[in-house]
Amino acid sequence: MPEGKELYMLMLRRMMLIRKFDETVKDLVQSAELVGMAHCYIGEEAVAVGACTALRDEDYITGNHRSHGHPISKGGDVRRAMAELLGKATGYCKGKGGSMHLADFDIGILGESGIVASALPVAVGAAMGSKMQNTDRVVISFFGDGASNQGACHEAMNLASIWKLPVIFLCENNQYAVTTSFKETVSTENVSDRATAYNMPGVLVDGQDVMAMHEATVHAVQRARAGEGPTLLEAKTYRYEDHSEGLNRILREPYRTEEEIEFWRQRDPIDIHSKWLLENDVASQEEIDKVQNDVYEAIGDALQFARESPYPDEADLFTDLFADPIPLR
C-alpha cells in the first residue's frame, strides 16, 4: 500500500478522476448520449478516496446508487466504468448494469446497489465470509444519510456487532435524500450517534478533508483486522449536483439555498487537498497540474474507449443469469 507522497498524490489523482469522470457524465446526460439515470459524486470525492486508500486491493467495498466514486476510489478502471455507463460489451457488467451497478470482483468491488441500503447486509456477509475463511480482509459499506433510516441498516449493524465482523459502515451524510433534509428524517443529530445502539464506535469525520477521512478509516480498519468488530464512520459532506442528473428540471421548489451550496463549494475537497499538498511542500503546482492533465487524458481515453466499444450482442442477453444455466423462457 502506498505511503507518504505516493499516497497523497494517489488521493489527489483519484479525487480528480472522479470529478472529471462525473463532469463527463453530466455532459453525456445532457447530450442524451448517456441514457437511464446517473447520480454524480461531485463534491464528495474525499470521502470514498480517503476511505479506500486505507484498504488493500483484496479488501472489499459495497456501494450505492451514487455509484461512480466508490469503484474509482478502490482502483477501478475508468474505461470499463465508462463503457458500462454507455451500455457497452466492454463495460464492467457487459452493459447489463449501467451507472448504478458497477462492480469489479477482482479487486474487491462487490458492487453498487440501486436499492437504497440494500448492500449493507451483503457487506456484512462478505465480512462473515472473510472471517470464516480466516483471511483478514475488511469491508467498507458506503451508504447515505437517507439509507440510515432503512431497516436493513439496523439489522446489518447489529449482526456485524454481535459477530464482531470486520465491516466499516461509512455513512456519506450529504445531508439530503433527494430533496429531503436528513434533519427531518434522522431522529439524532448525527447518524454516527446511532453507533451506541450497536455497541460500536461512532466517528464523525470531515468528509471534505481526504486526510481526515483516510486517518479515521485507517483506525477503523485496524480495529476490524484485529477482530474487534465494526465501526460506524459518518462523513459530513455535500453534493454539488442534482440528486440525479436532470432532476432539478422537474423540481417545483428549491430545497436548498444558493448560499448553502456556495458554502460547501468553498470547502471543495480537491482544493483543500491541493492546498495542503502545496502548503506542506509535498507537491508543487506543476505536479498538481500534471495530475490534472493526466486525469483529463485518462477520462478522455475512457470516453473514447467506451464510445468505440461495441454494444453487447443479442446473444449476450441469454447469458449471466445463472452460473449453471437453464433454458430461458
Binding site: 432503512q150 433527494v178 443479442e314
Partner: protein
C-alpha cells in the same frame, strides 16, 4: 372535457379526492417538491396532508395500515421496485389484517406504484410485481393505461374501503387523452374496457402494452385482420366475462403483459380462458410477455426483453395460422 396527460389525470384525481374528504392524505419520499410529477402543487393546497417520509418504506407503508385502521385514508406513493423492502407490511398487514381479524376493520389505503421499465433503468428499478400481488389474497389491483382510466380508477381506489395496489406505468406519464372534469366520475373496479372492437382475434393488454397493441391492430386492419383489444384495467377483481365473451366471438386470444412470463397475469388469463373458454378456442393462446430474464441496462439489449409491436404482431399471426 379536455386533453390532459396521464400524470395530470392522476394529479386531478388526488386533488379532487383530497378536497372531498379530509381524511385522505399522502405519504412518500420527496413528494412535497413534486419531483415525481404527479404530486406537484398538492403540498401547497393541502400542506400537512402531504408528508415527506424518511427512506423507511416498510415503516411508513405499515404506518398507512395503522392510520387506516383508526379512520384515515392514506395514499402512499413509491416505485414498484421499492415494494420489496416493504413486502412484510404489504402482505402481513395490509393484505391479511381484515380477514385475520374477522372483518373488524376496514383498510382504505391506496399504494401508488410507479412502474419503470423500458427506459434503461436497469434491473433494480424495473420491477413489475403485480402478478405477485395477484397471488396474494386481500389486495385489489388496478393498472390504468389511459389518462381517463388513470383518473377514474384512482378515484375509485381512494373511495374503496380496501387496500388497493395502484400501478402507474411511467412510460405513459406524458401521454394525452380526453378526461372528464366531473369530479363524480369514477370507473368501477372489475370492468374491462374494449378499447377497440374486432372480430378475428382478441388481444388483452396490461398497462403500457395497450398502445403497441392498438398500433398493431391498426396495421393489421389493412391486411384484413380485425383485432379486438381489451384492457382489464383491474386485475383484482378481473373481468373474465368481457374477455370470455370476446374469445367466444373471435376464437383466438393473445395476452400481452410487460411482467416476466412465468406466473404472470398473462399466464392467469390464459389459464382462465383455456379452461372456461376451451370450446371457443380455435388456436392456442399466445402470451407476449417480458422474458424470464432481468432487464439489462444496455440500450442494445433492453428492448429484447420487453413486449413490442413486432412480438405482438407475430403472436397474432400465430393464432391465425
Amino acid at each position: 372535457m379536455g386533453e390532459i396527460t396521464y400524470s395530470d389525470a392522476l394529479n386531478h384525481a388526488l386533488k379532487e379526492e383530497m378536497r372531498r374528504d379530509e381524511k385522505v392524505f399522502l405519504m412518500g419520499e420527496s413528494i412535497r417538491g413534486g419531483i415525481y410529477g404527479v404530486t406537484g402543487g398538492l403540498s401547497q393546497e393541502f400542506d400537512k396532508r402531504v408528508i415527506d417520509t424518511p427512506l423507511s418504506e416498510n415503516g411508513f407503508m405499515g404506518a398507512a395500515v395503522g392510520a387506516a385502521a383508526v379512520g384515515m385514508r392514506p395514499i402512499v406513493q413509491s416505485l414498484a421496485s421499492f415494494a420489496w423492502v416493504a413486502m412484510d407490511q404489504l402482505v402481513s398487514q395490509a393484505a391479511k389484517m381484515r380477514f385475520m381479524f374477522g372483518g373488524q376493520v376496514n383498510l382504505p389505503i391506496v399504494y401508488r406504484w410507479g412502474l419503470l421499465y423500458g427506459n434503461n433503468i436497469a434491473a433494480h428499478h424495473a420491477d413489475r410485481p403485480y402478478p405477485m400481488f395477484m397471488n396474494m389474497p386481500g389486495l385489489k389491483i388496478a393498472i390504468p393505461s389511459t389518462p381517463a382510466d388513470a383518473k377514474g380508477l384512482l378515484k375509485t381506489a381512494i373511495r374503496d374501503n380496501d387496500p388497493v395496489m395502484f400501478f402507474e406505468d411511467n412510460n405513459l406519464a406524458g401521454s394525452r387523452g380526453e378526461v372528464s372534469e366531473d369530479p363524480e366520475i369514477c370507473i368501477p373496479f372489475g370492468k374491462a374496457e374494449v378499447k377497440r372492437e374486432g372480430a378475428d382475434v382478441t388481444v388483452v393488454t396490461i398497462a403500457g402494452t395497450l398502445r403497441p397493441a392498438l398500433a398493431v391492430a391498426d396495421e393489421l386492419e389493412s391486411d384484413g385482420i380485425s383485432v379486438e383489444v381489451i384492457d382489464p384495467r383491474t386485475i383484482v377483481p378481473l373481468d373474465t366475462k368481457t374477455i370470455l365473451d370476446s374469445v367466444e366471438k373471435t376464437g383466438r386470444l393473445v395476452v400481452v403483459d410487460p411482467a416476466h412470463r412465468s406466473c404472470s397475469v398473462a399466464s392467469e388469463i390464459s389459464s382462465i380462458v383455456s379452461q372456461e373458454g376451451f370450446w371457443s378456442l380455435q388456436a392456442p393462446i399466445q402470451r407476449v410477455t417480458s422474458l424470464d430474464c432481468h432487464f439489462p441496462f444496455s440500450p442494445a439489449l433492453e428492448h429484447l426483453v420487453y413486449p413490442n409491436e413486432d412480438k405482438i404482431a407475430d403472436a397474432i399471426n400465430l393464432t391465425l395460422e
